[in-house]
């Protein structure tokens, strides 16, 4: 049941009406409805994995209770380790087993040994990476005492399996969802309309922009050796917009769906391509994941390393930069790996880690240099050039993310930077490509105009009168209807 399918539309409308019409007076029954709907939604994909998710959720419920109950630190540690091992174990088994085994066999073969290939050929349960991070955040927060373990099993199950976020986030931590689940929810006209508007924008972004760009980007990446440098550059730009439109579109639909049901789900994107530097980019891209890594990995590593460092410099590097390098390297290695069992993702993560370290390293000298030369930090030319530089870094990294192997990515870059970069790009269907390019430029322009709001067209209600607003909605519906790209799944479902 894809978010951009008729089936999901019928499902959501049914849930919405039962939820607000029949069960409005009883929020516990509303919760049961949402839990049943979430199970139905997930079971639609594969009921066997639904059983896996329910079992894991019950396990996490029990571990959280045990963590809460345990007085001694050592016992808490045992329960926490058990929770981490089981959750990460499931993730490792389904997602990384083949990758690690193959890598080990390749490593051993370097020393002249030959081992037989072992493959599990497991199907990856949809949303497993997101689910595990949700569950772990629950256990970590209970362990730290940020929240108390919830004794209400249906509420825990709902927080871990809420259908708008179960497949690809946003990673809405249970600590933020429990208060909303346990409180009575009122029908709020403004919030519901806002949710519908966000879904509409998400659908346009996903179905019109991402899905249409994907047909060109896929063709170019799959046959890059046949294309000129200029076409490959266009392909990389198309993919960069596609992945943003795909995932931010999905997130808008998920958050909008939450609003229809009276829930506030954490924001996932904040117009990342308008970021001035790579740090800012990561504050705006997949926010729920980056904050997860920040809170549960980067900061704990930073604190742990800082306790061990006694001097001002380590290996000739300032202590704070050294700490940043260590924490960043581990965090970005794992961020890359989280995206998939492939060296391309690890390389992509490390590339971002490298640029973040470079940014951190030059921050202080840059500030001094600017002050010395009297350069205004908000100089428009400076802002524009830094934004463009950030875009180039991100674009190059997406080539590694999208390619089948690191070798392919380098070959792609090699052709891209060849003399054919100065030729005119070619596409199989120029007419459609032109129309989609125009729509994409319009899309980015609207995103720019709406960059101060949660999503691009959120403030349309404040800026325009009803007739204009409704005209915009009608145009969006008509464009979605006629210009939908067909049959494309969400990119982040594979993670």
């Amino acid at each position: 049941m894809l978010y951009n399918s008729l089936t999901f539309g019928i499902f959501l409308i049914s849930v919405f009406f039962v939820y607000w019409f029949l069960l409005r007076a009883n929020h516990k029954l509303q919760n049961y409805l949402l839990l049943s709907a979430s199970w139905f939604f997930y079971g639609w994909w594969d009921w066997r994995f639904l059983l896996l998710f329910v079992s894991l959720s019950v396990f996490n419920y029990l571990v959280a209770l045990a963590l809460d109950k345990a007085q001694e630190k050592s016992i808490r540690k045992i329960w926490l380790v058990a929770g981490i091992v089981l959750n990460l174990g499931v993730l490792a088994l389904f997602k990384y087993f083949d990758f690690f085994v193959d890598s080990f066999i390749d490593l051993v073969s370097l020393f002249g040994y030959s081992l037989p290939k072992i493959s599990t050929s497991f199907v990856l349960p949809l949303g497993i990476s997101f689910y595990v991070f949700l569950a772990l955040s629950y256990l970590f927060d209970v362990n730290k005492g940020v929240i108390k373990a919830n004794r209400n099993l249906p509420e825990v199950l709902l927080a871990l399996q809420f259908f708008p976020i179960i497949l690809a986030g946003p990673i809405q931590r249970p600590s933020g969802l429990f208060p909303q689940i346990s409180a009575k929810r009122e029908f709020d006209y403004a919030r519901v309309v806002d949710g519908l508007r966000q879904i509409l924008w998400g659908l346009f972004t996903k179905v019109v922009i991402a899905d249409n760009l994907s047909s060109f980007a896929d063709d170019i990446f799959n046959n890059y050796t046949f294309y000129s440098g200029s076409t490959l550059l266009t392909g990389a730009i198309f993919y960069s917009v596609q992945i943003y439109a795909d995932f931010s579109g999905y997130s808008n639909i998920a958050i909008g769906t939450g609003k229809l049901l009276g829930f506030d789900i954490v924001r996932n994107f904040a117009f990342p391509y308008f970021a001035r530097d790579i740090t800012e980019f990561w504050k705006r891209w997949h926010i729920s994941l980056t904050t997860w890594f920040r809170d549960y990995l980067f900061l704990p590593i930073s604190f742990s390393v800082s306790y061990k460092i006694k001097s001002e410099r380590v290996l000739g590097i300032k202590a704070d930069l050294f700490i940043y390098i260590v924490a960043s390297t581990v965090t970005w290695l794992l961020t890359g790996l989280w995206h998939g069992a492939n060296y391309t993702f690890i390389f992509w993560g490390m590339l971002h880690g490298f640029f973040l370290i470079i940014y951190q390293w030059q921050k202080s000298p840059r500030k001094k240099f600017m002050k010395k030369r009297g350069i205004n930090n908000n100089n428009k030319f400076l802002v524009l050039s830094e934004t463009l530089l950030t875009l180039v870094i991100v674009l190059v990294s997406w080539i590694f993310f999208r390619s089948d192997s690191i070798g392919d990515a380098f070959s792609y870059l090699g052709i891209l930077l060849s003399g054919s970069l100065l030729s005119l790009p070619e596409f199989p269907n120029m007419k459609i490509c032109l129309v989609i390019t125009i729509l994409t430029v319009l899309f980015l322009y609207v995103e720019w105009l709406g960059r101060e709001s949660q999503y691009a067209i959120q403030n349309i209600a404040l800026r325009f009168s009803s007739p204009v607003r409704w005209s915009v909605y009608y145009i969006l519906v008509i464009v979605i209807f006629f210009f939908a790209g067909l049959g494309q799944k969400f990119i982040y479902f594979q993670f």
């Binding site: 006209y189 519901v192 007419k431 006629f482 210009f483 939908a484 067909l486």
Partner: protein, 323 residues
């Protein structure tokens, strides 16, 4: 809550009310296109409007469409002819066109049915589905005739089938704002290709190896039904295996078996079969643009050869009706 539902209804109702009118308008404009969807609309229009009006009709796939010129038939015989070849389709779709011809048009006096190794093949994908779009609404005969590629609701709910059809919408815009660009690509259904040889047989062989074409028994039965119908209506019919470049004939491993089915059916129903597989034209690459298709020069030469051979088997000159 009431306010919300009221506003949602107000928003949605215009779409429902306008769906039927929009469907009729878009379909009406699209039907005027000469080149969209492989230039099939003029042919469908002629079929539905009873404007085929020909004594000789040609059925078949792209190898009919590009191989037999109705103009040369007309110039040589002084009788109107029409090429109903449909690109990328097999006998099932060809038969559907036959049923429309029988229903909405005057009867022809000769049917030239071209045959291929793939004619009996069951194809899972519907090739060039956009050619059906403007004719589908509440068209149950098309729903039965075009057996795959669309859902039931596509035939019965207005506009649904246009979802995601951006090329069709751009064509509508072109027809509204730049009608002068609407140039015909087919003449009485015929669409020759004025092109020299392009195929790379060596790499194709390496890529694909030998193909085995599976014949579907239900389509063979349908073909027999078609022949029987022609017999019953006393419509002269000839089966023609049009030229195929000799090297290309080696691609299909069971080619001989498939051709033997045609021979058996030809004898069983006493329908003449003309096979040009070994004709000199099939040995000359200059007449082809790829192994399966003649170029314009080849097609013109072949049409003249066909006329000569139809004379030799007494299908020409055409018999008067009732004779």
């Amino acid at each position: 809550m009431r306010k919300f539902i009221f506003r949602v209804l107000i928003f949605v109702i215009p779409f429902i009310l306008l769906a039927y009118i929009s469907d009729k308008t878009i379909s009406g404009i699209l039907k005027k296109s000469n080149s969209f969807a492989d230039g099939e609309y003029p042919v469908w229009n002629d079929l539905y409007n009873g404007e085929i009006n020909s004594d000789i009709v040609i059925y078949g796939s792209s190898r009919a469409l590009k191989h037999i010129s109705p103009e040369i038939l007309y110039d040589s015989l002084n009788v109107p002819a029409y090429n109903l070849g449909v690109n990328g389709h097999t006998l099932r779709s060809e038969y559907f066109r036959h049923t429309l011809l029988m229903k909405y048009n005057r009867l022809p006096r000769l049917i030239i049915q071209t045959i291929d190794v793939t004619s009996f093949e069951k194809i899972s994908d519907l090739y060039n589905p956009d050619q059906f779009l403007p004719y589908m609404l509440n068209n149950t005969e098309m729903e039965r005739g075009i057996f795959n590629g669309f859902r039931h609701i596509d035939y019965h709910l207005p506009m649904i089938r246009y979802f995601g059809k951006k090329e069709a919408m751009l064509e509508v815009l072109k027809l509204v704002f730049a009608e002068r660009l609407n140039t015909p690509v087919r003449v009485r259904g015929y669409r020759p290709r004025d092109q020299e040889w392009t195929d790379d047989l060596k790499s194709a062989k390496q890529k694909m190896g030998l193909l085995e074409v599976k014949s579907d028994s239900a389509i063979i039965v349908l073909f027999e039904k078609f022949i029987a119908e022609c017999k019953e209506k006393k419509l002269p019919l000839v089966l023609v295996y049009t030229p195929e470049y000799i090297e290309g004939q080696k691609f299909v491993s069971n080619r001989a078996d498939i051709l033997s089915i045609y021979s058996i059916l030809s004898q069983k129903y006493d329908v003449p079969l003309l096979d040009y597989s070994n004709d000199s034209i099939s040995y000359n690459r200059n007449y082809f643009y790829n192994s399966g298709h003649l170029n314009k020069t080849g097609a013109e030469l072949f049409t003249r050869m066909l006329i000569r051979d139809l004379y030799s088997i007494n299908l020409l000159p055409l018999k008067d009706e009732g004779q």
